[in-house]
Subunit: 315 residues, 2 copies
């Protein structure tokens, strides 16, 4: 427990789904008690800009400036630059909002200046008023690559945005992961955590890049605290995005036990949806809750219930 | 003369003033008969973007998309990105319009891809519908540097935009000029020209960088054709910008003869304003015209009169 008597919580997240749970946790915990560790396997270079989609989604969500309809990008953003790019004959398949561009431009400038992504993220987030600690999983570049039936190997954003996650995935690898160190800040947060959560994000595209960082599994396994994942699969479907489709393509059964099995010994607790009344999991301690966060209130309720279940376990 | 019976014209220009005369020439000549060679000494890196203010001003003017009030930037442009940058606490002293950003982003991407500025400019200009040949003076980076009393040496845009050309200039140098070659395209255009014009741009900040490229003076002097400059000084003042202030700071008399003297043997004809009734120049053949281009019509009239005077001389 921290000096304020509240648990120190670390949550591993991807983009939209993870941002929702992180946002719920900010409504439940003092800001100094929460560290959000974000997947950066989606990051890519586009028109010379370093774009970190998951970091930005989480940052904008926690800052309260996210586009609430899409769940990503900035509210009320325009695409004047992008339209002008198209005027030059560019395909411009990745949405770059004008406000959003300021994030990419500033981040890119700082990267070229030799700044660490951790410090860049801290500066951007602080300027937007984010008070919890927001950490990229690593300062090194990692590229989630998808080997597809139709196009061969694709960079994540090409698969996800350009081809709208329609190609059939045969295999996934995390390019550069062997050279990517867990940052000292992420190590310290995990070492000090009373509770480690894995958000209901895509296991293969959002969470496994984080878990695949050299040493990350050992850091987590070394912590004798609740390590709890939340299933992103509800009723045989993904709440959002390609998780269910990908699961089937990789040969797995599309159900919560598959998610629990992918995380294996990394977790000692698993939360899945109360709608999945037929699902039985015996390999890990479980509980069922309403995990579908449709409103901001739902996020806070789910966060509080997870904390209550985790704290009951440890007390 | 070209096959179409019209003269091949090369005009050396800086930003706003040069763009006006170039625009006037496009109303007088077939597009294949005009080559505009633009100063790139103002170019700079800003937030990781390669910005070429004079090239953009001329390109937007010739494309008919320029902001007609400012004389630079794109008409109706917004500054959403810039405002968001300020939201991150940035000073953001250089105006980057959202549409304008597309030009910088695309150019920067192509520069990092190893493309020559000449080819980049051709592609951007063609996409905007510019039909005359628009050439940067060189593909190499050149930086006009101003040694000032107040701040020491400043990059051009810092002097010009950030400090609104208020510092007192002691000396000027063109950084990198010794390594900057006149492009083969500019060489070919000069070699084929029936008439070479120097626009009423700032002699020290716009034209001398072009003339200072290694070999450029010899290329011009080798051409036995009219080589005519237009004075940017009218009635002891500059039409726009710091030309008069700079002239005085560098110890020159603020009048057309100074301009003619700076160009020296490079020119064999000089046009200055009919308002300067007291001015007498004997070192070079001269004529006086209304050189103040207040309307688009004025531009075409001035361009036509200059061509007529030049052609009469050669016929």
């Amino acid at each position: 427990m921290a000096l304020n008597g509240e648990p120190q919580v670390v949550v591993l997240v991807g983009g939209v789904g993870g941002a929702k749970l992180a946002h719920g946790l900010t409504q439940t915990l003092p800001p100094e008690n929460l560290t959000v560790i974000v997947n950066t396997g989606d990051d890519f270079w586009h028109y010379g800009l370093r774009i970190c989609p998951d970091l930005d989604t989480v940052m904008y969500t926690l800052a309260g400036v996210v586009d609430k309809v899409n769940g990503w990008g900035r509210a009320g953003d325009t695409t004047t630059m992008l339209d002008a790019l198209r005027g030059y004959g560019e395909d411009a398949w990745f949405r770059l909002g004008d406000q959003d561009l300021a994030t990419h431009v500033l981040r890119t400038t700082m990267i070229h200046g030799g700044e660490r992504l951790t410090n860049i993220t801290a500066r951007l987030a602080a300027a937007l008023g984010v008070r919890v600690r927001l950490l990229p999983m690593t300062d090194a570049p990692v590229s989630t690559m998808l080997d597809t039936v139709e196009y061969g190997e694709l960079e994540f954003q090409t698969y996800f945005v350009r081809y709208r996650w329609q190609p059939t995935v045969k295999a996934i690898r995390y390019g550069g992961i062997d050279m990517a160190a867990v940052s000292v800040e992420a190590q310290a947060a995990i070492a000090a955590a009373d509770l480690i959560l894995i958000a209901p994000s895509n296991p293969w595209l959002s969470i496994c890049p984080i878990l695949s960082l050299p040493g990350m599994r050992d850091l987590l396994l070394a912590r004798a605290v609740p390590r709890i994942a939340v299933s992103p699969i509800v009723g045989g479907k993904a709440i959002k995005g390609p998780a269910a489709k990908l699961m089937a393509e990789l040969g797995y059964t599309v159900s919560p036990p598959t998610v629990a099995a992918v995380y294996g010994a990394v977790i000692n607790g698993f939360v899945y949806d109360q709608r999945d009344t037929e699902v039985v999991i015996t390999e890990v301690e479980t509980t069922q809750m309403d995990t579908v966060m449709q409103s901001e209130h739902d996020r806070a309720v789910l966060a509080r219930r997870i904390l209550e279940w985790a704290l009951r376990k440890t007390s």
